[in-house]
Symmetry: C2
Subunit: 480 residues, 2 copies
């Protein structure tokens, strides 16, 4: 991080954004003025004011941290965003592209020429390149590859080859390694030859002559031990290490469990091939949790808030289609009982309560079970115990709340048997919800699928159709 760039807290950041917007407004005013009064003698004045505005803006942007520029770009509508993007120094393009969200990155890359894109990648490390490559046009990727030295070509190829969600896709290749038979004094002198250390270096990897990991020397141990002692004496041998094919989620849990800041990544022969840092892991955790939130609401991906209406429709349609199908099925279940409803219209008013409460209760169960599975606390053989507990909760809720609603129905429609059917249907639907709430995620886990995906949709579909069927079915049997 260069020292002239000022760092901002969130309020300052909002302030920076307002300043940029104010300059953009001035810039657009001038442009508008010129467009209207298309006269030669205005040109010079306009040119001056125009350039002055843009210069001030460029100056502001230069003084901002790449992450802050990214923030400003994300908060601006497309047109303004591209004006600002044009003003950013070309050598900073790469790091800023890494910071913006996927949706905004797409709009920026679309606006860049091939040679600009290639230039933007020149300032990036191999692991950063690997993050960007999937979003770049094919011909740019080829140019980028050509420009790399052979060793980095191999690294980039390796980094791209690891699937998303693995440690390999998150690791970087910058690290400092030393041998165990040198003294700390030698290590200290060796480090002084660096202009800078790899970002977030809290430990140095100790390797043998075949690059096999022997241990780690933390900077703390390097600093507090006598410089005359050996690396061997100061290093730690019990090291949390990862393999590139490990799941990133498990690595993230290990980082949290052991409070790690960085950890070596080793291949099957225990040769150090990369490094995982907490900063990368935090990004991964945040992205994974965001992706989950979006998926829960049926959004395919994060939306650029200035995306076109049409892009938004596409982002959301799949989920609505699924819901349409489940809603249609529930509607057909009601259709079966139309004659019952004709004879006792109160059923139509009461049935959504049974379905709705079942859905909510089922979603509580699913959330609880999915969380417990994610924490690794639920083994497949726990199904029976969890099922027993959830069915117990459902029974109590059914009798309590179902009883209350039954009483309300009785009072409203002056029909005690309607009230009893209501209570029975609520209880049965809550039991169904508990059963499915435990069963669906556990089954998905046993089948090797992600237990978090789609549980909510399936539960709601089941408790809607099930709730209508149970309530209208019981009513048809006992009331008509």
């Amino acid at each position: 991080m260069s020292e002239e760039q000022s760092l901002n807290d969130t309020e300052d950041l909002q302030e920076r954004l307002r300043e940029v917007e104010a300059l953009l407004v001035r810039h657009r005013l001038v442009e508008e003025l010129v467009r209207r009064q298309d006269m030669p003698h205005h040109e010079r004045i306009e040119g001056l004011v125009h350039r002055q505005n843009l210069n001030e803006l460029r100056h502001k942007l230069d003084a901002m941290h790449p992450a802050d520029v990214a923030y400003v770009l994300e908060a601006l509508p497309l047109e303004d965003r591209l004006v600002v993007w044009d003003l950013v120094k070309a050598e900073r393009d790469g790091e800023i592209l890494l910071e913006v969200s996927d949706a905004v990155r797409e709009t920026l890359i679309d606006a860049m020429e091939r040679h600009e894109l290639v230039a933007a990648t020149e300032s990036l490390d191999t692991d950063e390149l690997a993050d960007l490559v999937p979003d770049l046009p094919q011909e740019v990727v080829e140019d980028v590859f050509q420009a790399l030295p052979p060793e980095e070509q191999a690294q980039l190829r390796a980094a791209i080859s690891y699937p998303e969600g693995t440690v390999g896709a998150l690791m970087d290749f910058d690290m400092v390694t030393v041998r165990e038979d040198v003294t700390l004094e030698v290590v200290l002198r060796y480090l002084r030859r660096f202009d800078e250390l790899p970002e977030h270096t809290d430990k140095i990897f100790v390797v043998d002559r075949d690059e096999r990991l022997e241990g780690v020397l933390t900077l703390e141990d390097l600093l507090i031990h006598d410089p005359d002692s050996d690396v061997r004496a100061a290093m730690k041998k019990d090291v949390v290490r990862f393999h590139p094919e490990d799941e990133a989620e498990e690595a993230a849990q290990a980082f949290e469990r052991y409070d790690l800041v960085s950890a070596p990544v080793a291949d099957a022969e225990n040769r150090v091939i990369g490094r995982l840092t907490l900063v990368t892991v935090v990004d991964f955790i945040r992205e994974a949790s965001e992706a989950e939130q979006l998926a829960n609401a049926g959004l395919r991906e994060e939306e650029d808030i200035f995306a076109s209406v049409w892009d938004s429709v596409k982002n959301r349609w799949a989920w609505l289609a699924v819901n349409l199908v489940t809603a249609f099925v529930a509607s057909r279940v009601i259709g079966i009982f139309e004659t019952s409803i004709e004879r006792l219209v109160a059923l139509a008013a009461l049935m959504p309560i049974v379905a709705g409460i079942g859905g909510n209760s089922g979603n509580q169960t699913v959330t609880m079970i999915v969380r417990a599975i994610a924490m690794g606390q639920v083994k497949p053989d726990a199904t029976r115990r969890l099922l027993k507990k959830e069915l117990g909760v459902a029974l109590i809720n059914g009798v309590l709340w179902g009883g209350l609603l039954g009483a309300l129905a009785w009072w409203l429609y002056e029909d005690i048997s309607l009230g009893l059917v209501m209570t029975a249907a609520m209880t049965l639907n809550l039991l169904l919800a508990a059963f499915a709430g435990v069963g669906i995620p556990m089954l998905r886990q046993r089948l090797g699928a992600d237990p978090a995906v789609g549980g909510s949709v399936m539960i709601t579909a089941l408790t809607d159709s099930g709730g209508f069927f149970i309530f209208l079915g019981l009513a048809t049997l006992f009331l008509l």
Copy 2:
């Protein structure tokens, strides 16, 4: 982290858990055997086997990292959990209590005597104590306070005084400070006098004689610069610093934006009073995102998966009560139109579709807006633009999906005007959902409330009641 304790990846951890469980099963078998055959001459054999089992278990636990012991405790039912807890060395109790979830911590503290609890806190730092204090019985807290030296008493009092969700509640008090006019060689010698540095020290704070923050000296700069140079020459003056009353969420965003590992916390006079580390911030991020997930499903807090049925009922009842009220309101809206439904029973089958799709679409909008607000990308004056976009999306979806469903209704009931009412009602309810999906979170933000809380409940309540009203209302006007 002591060196004998082995570190485990998730699979190893499962393996450890299975070993502990196997030992517990053996332990319980022996106990059962003794209980049944209550004979004196068995006692000695039992005692031997019993002790052997427990010794093996104790040995296993001693070799595990506190976080791993916590994992095992969380995965065991209450009875087994307390057997294991009894076997953990007393001096490790404190750090393990910090690692377990709130629900499990409660069960462990309940099982401990006052003097055991006081002893458990002795190994903890002030900031860790502050995390534990809210869960301890009042008389234990008093004993703990008595046992602290005056300086730490003041720190603990300060740490407790900051409300949850502020930087003050997350900061610790361990840090290394130096003056700017000494050489790096002096700093290096000073550090060698430490037995260990505060955890996750990646930078040393440079202060003047009044403890006012002048800059930071990263370990990297300390290591790569010539030892004869001054701290002043090697330090960075532009420092991200926090104040204890800053919001933790904003600090977390700054940590991510600037890739920080630690940062100083300063008071209003710029005196350094504490330190915030990425490891603490990560815990905070994870907990905040989990709390949000739980709140979304209407769970008050994380449940111990072995909690009693009754505890679970209490954890979930508030949400169900809210849903009961909204479902009842929706049911009364239908009640208004009972005569319409009696005359055209198809309405009863079709109305849940209109309500359901509206709710799903509204939830998509809320999720999008809440995310954008959380990222700081939405200023209150953006309401109009966002509203325009969301209404556009709703209109397209209404015409498309509403049209499809209208056609289906026409085909099913051979009534073209029913189909048209269906399409119109879908479109209007989607517009209502878009309006509320933008309006509710933006309004909450403007009123200074958390935009994420309760948006989903309110939207669903609105689109349910609204959907029924719109559809049945239009049908009553145009079809009957």
